[in-house]
Amino acid sequence: MHIPDGILPLPVTLGGYAATVGLAWFSIYMIKRRQDPRENIPKASLLTAVFFTASLIHIPVPPVSVHLVLGGLMGALLGFYAIPAIIIGLFFQAVMFGHGGLTTLGINTIIIGTPALLAHYIFRFRNTAPADPKRTGFFGFLAGSTAIALSVTIFSVVLFTNIPAHMDPETEMTAILLLIAAHVPLMIIEGIITCMTAVFLLRVSPGILDGV
């Protein structure tokens, strides 16, 4: 779900960077409001490394296999640290594996980061009542699947409304809907993975679910 270099026109890539700067500024502002903003940096960094590694896991979905994005889980566990973590992760993915790109780093951050922040707020609803595995699993599933659904929607709309070719609106809409439909299995898988990981953490180390 990373848009590579070369596809999007300059106004979109620059707009993506401008929006990312705003999002990063907001996240860093929220992080700096804490009493000791440095305290959680090692935790957020190690979790970023964990998510970077876990995103390389492939899940078989015949006839292909999909790799995990884990935007929802990142949002749920990292909170506002998710935005710096996603920028760093996307930069390393671009330079180490060629996933995504440098000019599209901004727009790719919006594609994965905005849904991650939404997932953070969704997962916080878990705290409105005493946490039990069912409640944690439900909000975990909701956070994971909503994040990926929103990411796929932004990705498809940005991609098909900005490719350098004239497509009639009907073809454009069909392509967007087809791409979203093709990602439905990934939405379910991400939801289940986020749900089961959250329940696992609730049983093993519940403090982690309070976020960074």
Partner: protein, 252 residues
């Protein structure tokens, strides 16, 4: 981590990383501004010249082009048949259009040139140096600290992951079946990595505090621009301006 060993003695590896990164972004954005097919050969020549000067082996670039090429290839092959209005050829029920072919060429060349330039710059600069250069360019300290810690611990976490995966395989897990059991095992694997990461981070934070983390003023980044850096940077700005100027001229 990514820096290519064979490029250690090239002139690119001796340049100031701050100027290299700014030059890369200027060129990449000027390439993404181009939409005129007549300018594509100029972009290719410029990229080839940078590649020859870098001293990087061709295999280094080709190896990293594999994965992103799949997305770009999908667009390159579908655009000629799903977009445009002027037919140039017919393949059964598919009609290839002139505008679609031009769009395909544009996507392919822009992608190839930008990613090659990025690989050249990052292949001649270690990732840690890149982060320090970004820090010298006013990257917020939260992001710089996080990036350096991610670089430091990504191999450790990766090693944990490989060890756990191996023990799962030894216990009979193949990971090739689709089903709730596979997803459960994968979730527990991710959960275990998260727990280990958080436990390790507590120890790391205490060790960092003991060494003065948060109390020391950041030292000098140690980068120093030479006349060659400024000369190359000026040439990059001129080339990017020329490209943008030609695009505006040809576009109008």
């Amino acid at each position: 981590m990514i820096c290519c060993q064979s490029s250690q003695n090239s002139c690119f590896s001796r340049l100031d990383p701050r100027f290299k990164l700014i030059s890369l972004f200027i060129l990449a954005f000027s390439f993404s501004f181009v939409s005129e097919p007549k300018l594509l050969p100029a972009m290719l020549v410029l990229t080839m010249a940078a590649f020859c000067l870098s001293g990087l082996p061709g295999s280094y670039i080709l190896k990293r082009l594999k994965i992103p090429s799949i997305i770009v290839l999908a667009l390159v092959f579908t655009l000629p048949v799903i977009s445009g209005e002027t037919p140039v050829a017919s393949l059964g029920f598919l009609t290839i259009t002139l505008e679609g072919l031009a769009a395909s060429a544009l996507v392919a060349v822009r992608f190839l040139c930008i990613i090659t330039l990025a690989l050249i710059i990052l292949g001649t600069t270690p990732v840690q140096t890149c982060v320090r250069a970004f820090q010298a360019l006013r990257l917020p300290w939260i992001m710089a600290d996080m990036a350096l810690l991610v670089i430091r611990y990504i191999e450790v976490i990766g090693s944990d992951y490989r060890r756990m995966r191996t023990s799962m395989v030894l216990r009979g897990f193949s990971g090739q079946r689709t089903g709730i059991k596979t997803l459960k095992t994968m979730s527990w694997l991710i959960g275990s990595l998260v727990v280990r990461g958080v436990e390790r981070s507590d120890r790391i934070y205490r060790a960092m505090r003991v060494r003065g983390y948060g109390n020391l003023s950041p030292g000098s980044h140690g980068f120093k621009a030479t006349k060659l850096d400024i000369l190359i940077f000026s040439a990059v700005i001129m080339l990017a301006a020329l490209l943008v100027g030609l695009e505006l001229h040809l576009g109008s």
